[in-house]
Amino acid sequence: MPTLSLKVNGKAVSGEVEGRTLLVEFLRDQLGLTGTHVGCDTSQCGTCVVHVDGKAVKSCTVLAASCAGASVTTIEGLAANGKLHPMQQAFHEEHGLQCGFCTPGMIMAAVDIVKRNGKKVDEETIRRELSGNLCRCTGYHNIVKAVQSGAANM
């Protein structure tokens, strides 16, 4: 099996992967980073969203091998020095989560939305850009509010 070396949450890591190993499998099974979830097989639910080289992608539809040399950020790497990222804080403050299963992907997607659209991203843009993240609990109402308030503090 080929060895894969990359950076995950700022740390250099390496592991042996098969050709078919998906990034999400590498993160969960080899690195034990179980905050990244799998909720579907068709690249739609968004519970697996992580950042690869600064871009939000669905880690269930990325081959681990293709991430050689890349820099990956997962939900576990978002808080810096023990302090919650403003988007994590906003999800807490606005009650943007219930069962929590979609939450890591939702937060990673939200951070990416703000990075590309700025602090004043409007509600319509947030809703449109969350089309790749499903939540069954919240009705999205408080998630949208959380993204807006998290954006303001980013």
């Binding site: 080929p2 098969e18 050709g19 078919r20 998906l22 097989d41 068709t42 690249s43 739609q44 968004g46 969203v49 871009k55 939000a56 992608v57 669905k58 539809t61 990325v62 081959l63 091998a65 293709s66 050689a68 997607a109 990416d112 939305i113 590309r116 850009e129 089309s131 790749g132 993240n133």
Partner: protein, 265 residues
Amino acid sequence: MENFNYHRPATVAAAAALLKKSKDGVYLAGGHTILPTMKQGLRAPKDVVDLSGIKAMSGIKASAGAVVIGAGTTHMEVASSSAVKKAIPALAEMAGKIGGVHVRHKGTIGGSIANADPASDYPSACLALGATIVTNQRKIPADKFFTGLFQTALKKGEIITAVSFPIPKRAAHQKFPNPASRYALTGVFVAQGKDGKARVGVTGAGPAAFRVADMEAALSKEFSEKSIAAIKVPPRGLLNDMHATAAYRAHLVSVLARRAVAAAK
């Protein structure tokens, strides 16, 4: 998913050579079609040749007459490219409606066109703008490229390297997404060339992207909503499934074409 040998060549030639050598190989671009297909066990290639390492294949070049987009350019890059926004704003808007953000970060124009999903968005733009699909072997006019359901003029091992879009006088894209998958239930791309000739590309409605000759003739005479108001597309041969009947898709073609003409700029 069955296991396979993973390759990530740095040049087009190396990629083509790897595929030629493989008994059962497949190219991987953004992966958002092939990987789910492989997960479902519908495909099990022995070799996967990842094209994402070929730097020469991505990037956007705009000249006076055309916008040339490298096949490895992602939908997000096209959607946010100031060159594309300036030259063919409708193309940037269309790219911005493909999938969701995370799909657009990975999916590429070359991969999308090579896959020729009847519900994908690029084929309508290729047809309406009269694009040329450039491969490692030749140049293929869009009209000759999409040959059927998931069928293209590409030969085994042939790699799309770029797509060249002539800059029109005006154009617009309208999409009515499938409510579940967000692919186009029907999408219409309308363009009027600098020579005044109009082209109408339709995706999602039929087994492959197609043009609507009646509308093109009417719009070439007078580029207005009114000139196509009475033109109906026959439902025969259009897709018919639980999300939309052929009649509904035919109706949507008319509605979206009118809206696209009204929005064209």
